[in-house]
């Protein structure tokens, strides 16, 4: 028995609509779409737009830090630039990019003809989009955390709430798809590692995002009426800051392990081992949910008696080291798969592997940051860790889009360009984050551009960071051009 699937031909080929010259019709199709690839691409495009802004703020802050005695921007603007960078990279870039890839690809991997609750996923995108616009406007109007304009601070909290609701709806949609819309006969244990990682990541988001949403509700009500409980605008970072930092970011990036395991594509002899490693690695990384839910930094205190140290070491290891083990397992299995003689190397493996390597470095950095005697809390070390994780995830998304470009856009991307962008992205990530890890040990304060003197080459480190952000901006622009270029040439040939 066969069926005529007219919807796929009507909905999936945007070029047909464009060739008819009906631009308004094409726009209408996009904004009301229920097709999973389009919804996923909407999330990804939104994420890349945010990323350009985030990278721009990174460049501005890097320049500002080159000379700590003079400032280009007023103090308020600097505070808001930091807010923009943190908020943007976490819930404006990381989460939507990975959710976008998940929505676009998962139905194809599990043999589903559509995504579950497609309209809810689309609503999630619009909620995220409107929330993003409100957040950006609020931050520009001095309304981010510690912002001076009360109405804009209210708007910022509203925007963050909308973003969290949007991400939550999208996560419910994609998680339900994995469980309910698999093709008949495809057991959970037979799924690809990517599908498994998306499911685990969705569950992680469903368990953690509402907790931050609860904080947003408290903060918004308190800030609007009296500011008596949470410290007003200065309390936002304290009560909501963990939504934009580790370990919550680890939940956003659970699907990156699935992407790497998928791209590494081992040969027949390694396939079962790779799958098993991927499943275990994703499961172990998901223990980061515990850290995100408890919302308490589990520091390793190297003081007191031996039993005191052990008492401190056990929760430290469980909350900070266990997630790293998950990434390490998938990295090791992927490297083993690549090492085998008959393995087929793909260009998209370069950004994906380097990206997961960057994330691994960031996670190790976070574990070091949680060792109390190191005194790295509140220093730029935190910023370095955040950039490693954030830009690493962007590299993995570049790898994912390259790997599935034929499914997403109906054409392959040139291998040399993908490899080049992967290497450049790797260099950008290291330049933008490693100097902060170094200067963090010299106690340079986080979220500040002045009041710091250091005997070492302080200006050089800031220049490196600035160059790293500029390079990342070029990588994003280059990748966008790479995606759009074949489309325009094809459109020309068809016309």
């Amino acid at each position: 028995m066969t069926a005529i699937d007219a919807s796929s031909t009507v909905n999936s080929d945007s070029s047909q609509t464009k060739s008819s010259g009906d631009i308004l019709g094409s726009i209408a199709v996009w904004i009301t779409t229920t097709e999973h690839k389009r919804i996923g691409r909407l999330f990804m495009r939104g994420g890349f737009f945010w990323l350009l802004g985030v990278v721009g703020s990174g460049v501005a802050l890097g320049i500002e830090r080159i000379d700590s005695n003079s400032s280009l921007f007023p103090t308020n603007s600097i505070v808001q630039l930091f807010s923009f960078f943190r908020t943007g990279l976490a819930i404006g870039v990381l989460a939507p990019l990975l959710i976008g890839v998940s929505i676009a690809i998962v139905p194809l991997k599990i043999g589903a003809q559509s995504i579950s609750f497609a309209r809810m996923a689309l609503f999630g995108f619009y909620s995220w989009l409107i929330g993003s616009a409100v957040v950006i406007i609020a931050i520009i109007g001095n309304g981010g955390p510690s912002g001076g304009d009360p109405q804009m601070v209210d708007a910022y909290l509203l925007g963050v709430g909308l973003i969290l609701i949007g991400l939550l709806f999208a996560a419910i949609s994609v998680g339900t798809t994995v469980i309910c819309a698999r093709r008949p006969g495809l057991a959970l244990s037979d799924m690809s590692v990517f599908s498994w990682s998306v499911f685990v990541g969705s569950v992680g988001l469903v368990l953690t995002l509402p907790i931050h949403l609860g904080s947003v509700i408290y903060l918004a009500v308190d800030h609007h009426y009296g500011r008596l409980a949470f410290g007003g605008n200065y309390g936002i970072d304290k009560w909501l800051g963990d939504a934009f930092s580790q370990p919550q970011t680890f939940i956003y990036l659970i699907p990156v392990l699935g992407v790497l395991a998928e791209i590494a594509s081992p040969n027949e002899s390694m396939r079962d081992v790779a799958r098993m490693g991927g499943f275990i690695g994703v499961g172990v990384l998901s223990t980061a949910v515990l850290g995100a839910v408890t919302r308490t930094p589990h520091l390793f205190e190297w003081s007191g008696s031996f039993s005191d140290k052990i008492t401190s070491a056990i929760p430290y290891a469980m909350f900070n080291l266990l997630p790293i083990l998950g990434v390490l397992i998938v990295l090791a299995v992927s490297l083993l798969a690549i090492k085998s003689e008959s393995a087929q190397m793909s260009a998209s493996l370069v950004p994906a592997l380097l990206g997961v390597g960057m994330i691994f470095t960031g996670m190790v950095g976070y574990a070091i940051q949680m060792i109390a005697p190191a005194n790295l809390g509140g220093t730029v070390f935190e910023e370095g860790v955040f950039v490693y994780v954030g830009y690493g995830a962007v590299l993995v998304v570049i790898g994912a889009i390259s790997h599935w470009s034929s499914e997403l856009r109906g054409r392959l991307l040139p291998s040399e360009a993908v490899i080049g962008l992967g290497v450049a992205g790797f260099a950008a990530t290291v330049l933008a984050s490693l100097p902060y890890l170094i200067v963090g040990f010299a106690d340079q304060p986080a979220n500040s551009t002045s009041d710091f003197q250091y005997e070492g080459p302080q200006a050089l480190w800031s220049i490196c960071v600035t160059v790293g952000h500029v390079l990342m901006a070029l990588v994003i622009i280059g990748f966008s051009a790479l995606i759009l270029k074949p489309q325009s040439s094809q459109a020309r040939s068809s016309s």
Partner: protein, 201 residues
């Protein structure tokens, strides 16, 4: 014809609404538990004072001049438990294709949901506190307001289930089952809030 793709037969996803509702119910739990954990943190951080009868030391979190109306809050609790029972009756009726009883059950759940919201409004009126009067008052309105929003979402779900049933889609009893699951989740969330905010104070 040539432009049409031949694809495998479309297979309807199994239990999609039920699982989606289970995800939503998990989100409701986490939202309420997250808010309650912050509430408890504030209460634990408040100083100690003697209780009004002078017998024991209690946290000075609930201002001494504020009294929580026990009757109204207990009424909400009982109403929601009843709503769960009636929602399950709706599932039972839908599975047996008993349209009359299913309509009745879903309709009663709508009424009970509205009654619970009404009782919550009565709590606000009887307490007579302003949202900006203090930290406790602000947080009280934030958490009970969130709970009220969840109740409104439950009533909306009941109306959707009722209209679907009235529209002749009763055989598809998955929505009615999901509806019952959502009311269980809301009730569990309320019970947690009731115990912490209204009983333990």
């Amino acid at each position: 014809m040539s432009s049409m793709a031949i694809s495998p037969p479309r297979v309807a996803p199994k239990n999609q609404v039920l699982l989606g509702t289970a995800f939503a119910a998990s989100a409701v739990f986490m939202l309420m538990f997250g808010m309650l954990s912050i509430w408890l943190r504030f209460r634990d951080a408040s100083p100690l004072r003697k209780s009004s009868d002078g017998v024991k030391m209690i946290h000075d979190w609930l201002p001494a001049d504020i009294e929580i109306p026990g009757v109204a809050t207990n009424t909400i609790l009982i109403t929601l438990v009843m709503a769960c029972v009636i929602a399950q009756w709706g599932v039972y009726a839908a599975r047996r294709a008993d349209a009359a009883h299913a309509y009745l059950a879903l309709g009663i759940v709508v009424v009970l949901g509205i009654a619970a919201i009404n009782a919550q409004v009565a709590v606000y009126v009887q307490m007579g506190i302003g949202i900006g009067d203090g930290a406790y008052q602000t947080m009280f309105y934030a958490i009970t307001g969130t709970m009220t929003a969840l109740l409104i979402s439950g009533v909306a779900f009941s109306l959707v289930a009722l209209f679907r049933a009235l529209g002749g889609r009763l055989r598809d009893h998955q929505v009615v089952s999901a509806h019952a699951l959502y009311w269980y989740a809301i009730t569990a969330a309320f019970v947690s809030m009731w115990f912490v905010v209204y009983v333990q104070k």
